[in-house]
């Protein structure tokens, strides 16, 4: 049992990890085919895993309805939305348009999903404004530097700003291309090294906590 739970997954991890690390250096079409096949396998496994996810979702909301927790009415909305979309999708055979006419499934997507997603994304503008207000208050030296840099970059990125302060365009580009880019690259170097080190640890079985912890 310990072999199935611990050693076999570690063995699979090591073999596949080494094979796909090596795959990067092999330009032969067989190597590409291997990668494509593995990606398809991952998609298939992901499809089966979705059953796990949906089961978890239904269970969560069933519990909420049964216990009549705060906001349990929304759980009803979720069930109704899921079943209505499944029925609409089945009737439309999964297509948004049939014979040039929009199906109910297409209607759900175009007139419910897309506007809802757009609304959530649009809220971001207000959240940016409130977050900017809190961070740009010059309460410390660092916040003051942030404020000045932000004002220059904002002025340099809009035509009106560049018209009012002609130098702001060049200074803004300099801040983005020199200061910002160098810091981003420094972060990316650290991130890449961290990711490579973590990959080594996982491939060679030194990091096992993703299997469920334990040191046996």
């Amino acid at each position: 049992m310990i072999f199935l739970r611990r050693q076999l997954p570690l063995l699979i991890t090591m073999v596949t990890g080494l094979v796909f690390a090596g795959q990067y250096y092999v330009p032969h079409p067989s190597s590409e085919l291997l990668l494509t096949s593995a990606t398809k396998w991952l998609q298939i496994i992901g499809g089966f895993a979705l059953v796990l996810g949906v089961t978890s979702l239904f269970h969560q909301h069933a519990v909420k309805i049964r216990r009549q927790e705060a906001g349990w009415g929304y759980s009803f909305v979720l069930y109704a939305g899921v079943f209505m979309t499944i029925v609409a999708g089945a009737l439309a055979r999964g297509k948004e348009n049939l014979d040039g006419a929009m199906t109910a499934f297409g209607w759900v997507y175009s007139f419910m999903m897309v506007p809802l997603q757009g609304t959530m994304f649009a809220i971001l503008a207000f959240f940016i404004a409130s977050a900017a207000y809190r961070s740009f208050r010059a309460r410390s030296r660092e916040a003051a530097v942030l404020l000045v840099a932000a004002v220059i970059v904002m002025m340099g990125r809009v035509p009106l700003g560049e018209y009012l302060i002609p130098l702001s365009g060049d200074v803004s580009q300099w801040i983005l291309n020199v200061l910002n880019a160098s810091v981003r690259r420094a972060i990316l170097i650290g991130v890449s090294l961290g990711a490579i080190a973590l990959s080594f640890k996982i491939i060679f079985g030194l990091e096992r906590s993703y299997l469920g912890g334990g040191k046996e």
């Binding site: 496994i45 996810g53 979702l57 906001g71 997603q117 959240f127 469920g212």
Partner: protein, 436 residues
């Protein structure tokens, strides 16, 4: 000044006498005849010196996935923008180059080996030689294992001089030698990490303070005191992403503490596989904390894979359940600010850790503590203090020192190369290039 010159009246023309007219005619005709002769001479001189492409070599393109051939030949004294090289390809066995198909034509002073992307250790010829990679397209379809006849012609005006017709067969290669430097560096870094781990097992290694991780205990303690849950997010990516794995590893440490403090833990997921993995990690953490009875299967739950639907659901959880501590670990996109700003409005203590550099400003702005980039990967070592984890950190630090040195030396060498026109710095610079 210009205006003055333009407005000056032109002097009146005098009527010419007969001798002067004859003299003029003779002079003009003589001048024209001279020009014609000069043109004729220069033309015949160019035709006479137009050379055939010499030292032509046609080989299978090395280090590729097949379907291409590479031709190299020496430059000639006629190379210039007026002359052109033509690349001709046809079926094997054709010996007359005129029967081959022209697949490319380019000015004779372009396409050199030095312009090719390969590293110096895989170059097929001198840097000054001409170089052309023939690929499928433009009416030619190169198949692996099939021989083709290839020739190069030089064209200037109407004249065309052919080089020899050579045969070559494209093939797929099993190793890209251009990337050998990448492999050596990766293996070197791996060896360094393992050495650092073995060193850390024998010695104590200093870890600098990371305030964001020091605050983990504070956040869990605060949640316990307030009797409110802890919300932990593992990011937008699936388990194939190192940042998600790092987030899952940190979840194990956090879950162990929440189990010890008997605090409720909520982990909403965007990916079902990540959910399954995190369930196992959480279960193990509760077992290790000696509180298996407190473990709830549904503490890890799936919401949806859709970005903004997930965000709306998590925002709803924050507003209804009012968790006292929010953890945002892993990779994030536009949802980062929507999540953290909502969390900030509920008064929760917020700790973020991400390698998404484009989202870092939002986390820094709205969270109490932010683990920047690699600190996400260091978190596991910091929280556990295990030699394997700490040793890995030391290996990363040495790796960073090496990269900094390479950047510094590389900048100096590139400057020397640009200032003096020397080609030897390229030998060193190529060693650290990512060549496909």
């Amino acid at each position: 000044m210009l205006k003055k010159i333009v407005l000056l009246p032109t002097p009146p023309q005098r009527a010419g006498t007969l001798p002067s007219v004859l003299l003029n005619i003779l002079m003009v005709n003589g001048f024209l005849a001279f020009i014609c002769l000069a043109e004729l001479l220069s033309s015949s001189s160019a035709h006479a010196t137009l050379p055939a492409p010499a030292d032509l070599h046609v080989v299978d393109t090395p280090n590729d996935g097949g379907g291409s051939l590479t031709a190299v030949w020496t430059p000639s004294h006629s190379d210039g923008p007026d002359a052109k090289y033509q690349v001709l390809v046809g079926e094997a066995g054709v010996s007359d180059p005129a029967l081959l198909k022209v697949v490319a034509e380019f000015p004779a002073n372009t396409r050199y080996v030095k312009d090719a992307k390969g590293a110096w250790w895989t170059r097929a010829a001198e840097r000054t030689w001409h170089h052309y990679v023939i690929k499928s397209g433009k009416g030619v379809d190169l198949k692996d294992g099939t021989a083709y006849a290839v020739s190069i012609a030089m064209r200037s005006g109407d004249e065309r001089i052919f080089g020899p017709v050579l045969q070559a067969t494209p093939q797929a290669n099993w190793f890209n030698w251009n990337q050998i430097n990448n492999l050596v560096l990766a293996l070197g870094f791996g060896a360094l990490v393992f050495y650092a781990i073995s060193h850390a097992k024998r010695n104590d290694i200093f870890l600098r303070r990371i305030p964001g991780l020091d605050a983990v205990d504070e956040a869990i303690g605060r949640s316990t005191e307030l009797g409110k849950p802890i919300l932990y997010l593992t990011g937008a990516h699936d388990m194939s992403d190192p940042s998600t794995i790092a987030a899952a590893v940190i979840l194990g440490r956090v879950a162990k503490r929440t189990a010890a403090y008997e605090t409720e833990l909520m982990v909403p997921h965007r990916d079902p596989i990540t959910m399954a993995v995190c369930q196992e990690i959480t279960k193990q953490a509760y077992l290790e904390a000696g509180k298996p009875d407190l473990f709830k299967e549904d503490s890890n739950f799936f919401i949806t894979s859709d970005q903004f639907s997930y965000t709306a659901a998590v925002d709803g959880i924050m507003l209804r359940k009012k968790p006292a501590a929010n953890f945002f670990m892993g990779s994030y996109f536009a949802e980062s600010l929507l999540l953290t700003e909502t969390g900030a409005s509920t008064g929760a203590i917020q700790i973020a850790g991400t390698d998404s550099d484009h989202q870092l400003p939002f986390f820094v702005t709205t969270c109490d503590y932010t683990l920047i980039g690699e600190e996400l990967y260091a978190a596991s070592a910091y929280l556990s203090k295990e030699p394997i984890q700490v040793g890995t950190l030391r290996g990363q630090d040495i790796g960073k020192a090496v990269i900094l040195s390479v950047i510094l030396i590389g900048t100096l060498l590139a400057t020397v190369s640009a200032a003096t026109g020397a080609s030897w710095p390229q030998l060193v610079l190529d060693l650290f290039k990512d060549l496909k």
